[in-house]
């Protein structure tokens, strides 16, 4: 009976995994209906499915006391399960369909966020102006200005360094700073 129960449970789980994978692949345009060659979902699940089945059968049939080995096997089982999902997802995300979907999602996000961002900024700017405080844009402009000044000073320092080096290297007219 133990054998039958474990077998039934594993079969059911295996079926679910396979159906889930097929559904995912169909969604990604790589299912059997699509023109692209379909992936073999068994290839992903087989290594850890076999191992899981062996471990499960051992526990259910041998009647031995649970041991720390079981935990290690379970961890290995989960690792392989995650690795298998990772491979499936990687393949699905590598399709043109997924890239197009993601591009559309991002574009949709930008279409919504751009006007919302602008409206929020206008409102905040108006509030800050009412309080006599500088707006974010003004603070950013000031910071940018400071960065530009620093860049100019660094540039002058570079030129000065070069001029000093030339002089030290045996004369010559220093470069115009």
């Amino acid at each position: 009976m133990a054998d039958n129960t474990s077998q039934q449970l594993l079969d059911m789980w295996k079926r679910q995994v396979e159906e889930g994978t097929q559904a995912w692949l169909r969604m990604m345009g790589q299912g059997p209906a699509a023109a692209a060659p379909a992936m073999d979902p068994q290839a992903f699940w087989r290594p850890f499915m076999d191992q899981g089945m062996a471990a499960w059968s051992k526990v259910m049939t041998q009647g031995s006391a649970p041991s720390p080995d079981l935990m290690a096997q379970w961890k290995q089982f989960l690792d392989q399960w995650i690795a298998a999902w990772s491979r499936v997802l990687e393949q699905a995300m590598g399709t043109d369909t997924f890239a197009q979907l993601m591009g559309k999602q991002l574009e949709g996000f930008l279409n919504v966020s751009a006007p919302a961002k602008k409206a929020a900024e206008q409102q905040i700017d108006a509030s800050l102006a009412g309080l006599g405080l500088p707006s974010r844009a003004q603070v950013v402009a000031l910071a940018r200005h400071l960065a530009q000044v620093e860049e100019k000073i660094d540039g002058l320092e570079d030129k000065l360094d070069r001029a000093v080096r030339r002089l030290n290297d045996g004369g010559g007219r220093p470069e115009r700073a």
């Binding site: 590598g94 960065a147 620093e150």
Partner: protein, 366 residues
């Protein structure tokens, strides 16, 4: 069913002393797991990162040049150029006995780190060209001056590799001794999922930058998480499994802190990075021009080492290796080491495979 279970239990063999000892050890580990977990939840401690002593040599705008303490027994100093944006550079000096920088300084390298810094909204106008022709040359020159050496090796990691390659090819006056590309994409035709997602047909980078101004850290995080959606699950499972081990927990805390500190991209930098490198692959084609000079990888004439990581999904080996085919030197080597993009340079695997390889290759040529 119940009867059968009782029958099975009745038939259980007596436990051997070995099994008992292992079960006791397992119970002990479970206790430690609970203890460490409660400490992490109830009393989280900020992990100490960046243990190697260092000195600030120069700063310009947000960027810094750091020099790390070492015996300086290797004649040629090393300039390390990491990625701009995305993440913070303390991953290279994460923790004692888990630090690339610590390893290299222990080997006697005079180690200089380019820390690009965290760019704000005011830096949205910064371009790739600015980074390559304004920031990097200045920091590199300061490194040469501080070291007192006549030559310097450059190591570019991740995005730091194409950036530093652009720098060394457009600045022939820089005294380059050796060049190392560590997990840095060169041929963007083989750059994996990011290449697919950032393709001009599906990703309108102009609209993206024009709307958002900069690329927020949250967006960067989303992109990287999507690259490996099972990563968090895997990380947490491994944490639970190793939670009994205080060393593992310390390492996890430090790495987890780093892994959740994403950095934004300056808008114009991102626009150029995506268009020129990902969408048009102009670096390997020799079509880039910076500060009036053509970026020609054939101008790299010094010894070159390119290191790819077998499991790298950010810069797959296929996009790193082509550097070897284009540089003009006979002393060139490509190695493919185990690990992913991060584990190539950080973690236990890195200390076994990558660090010794890079250190010995450079030391032999320095």
């Amino acid at each position: 069913m119940k009867d059968e279970l009782f029958t099975m239990m009745g038939e259980m063999p007596a436990m051997s002393p070995e099994l008992l000892a292992r079960m006791r050890e397992d119970a002990n580990r479970n206790f430690l797991r609970m203890k460490h977990w409660s400490e992490m939840v109830m009393n989280p401690k900020e992990p100490a990162v960046g243990p190697t002593p260092r000195q600030l040599i120069y700063r310009t705008n947000k960027s810094r040049l750091w020099r790390y303490e070492s015996r300086r027994t290797v004649r040629t100093p090393l300039l390390f150029v990491p990625n701009l944006g995305i993440s913070r550079p303390y991953i290279f000096d994460l923790m004692p006995k888990g630090s690339f920088i610590e390893h290299m300084t222990a080997q006697g390298f005079d180690f200089f780190l380019v820390d690009w810094g965290v760019f704000g909204e005011e830096d949205n106008g910064l371009t790739v060209e600015d980074a390559v022709t304004k920031i990097l040359p200045r920091l590199a020159r300061k490194a040469v001056e501080a070291s007192g050496a006549s030559e310097m090796s450059v190591l570019g990691y991740c995005m730091g590799a194409p950036l530093s390659a652009c720098f060394v090819t457009t600045h022939p006056e820089f005294p380059l001794k050796n060049y190392v590309d560590m997990a840095g994409p060169i041929d963007f035709a083989h750059v994996g999922l990011f290449g697919k997602w950032l393709d001009a047909k599906v990703f309108d980078v102009d609209k993206y930058v024009d709307t958002l101004g900069s690329i927020p850290a949250e967006m960067v995080k989303m992109g990287f998480k999507l690259l490996k959606p099972t990563m968090d699950l895997n990380t947490n499972l491994n944490l639970w499994w190793n939670l009994w081990n205080p060393e593992y927990v310390n390492g996890f805390n430090a790495l987890n802190k780093w892994a959740n500190e994403y950095l934004p991209f300056p808008g114009e930098f991102f626009r150029h990075w995506v268009k020129d490198f990902y969408q048009q692959n102009r670096l390997i084609k020799g079509e880039l021009t910076m500060a009036g000079r053509r970026v020609d990888l054939r101008e790299i004439r010094c010894p070159v080492l390119a290191v790819g990581a077998k499991e790298d999904n950010i810069a797959p080996p296929a996009c790193v290796k082509p550097l070897i085919d284009v540089v003009s030197t006979r002393d060139k080597e490509y190695v493919e080491l185990p690990g992913g993009h991060i584990s190539l340079i950080a973690g236990r695997g890195a200390s076994v495979h990558c660090w010794p390889k890079v250190a010995s290759w450079l030391a032999a040529r320095s």
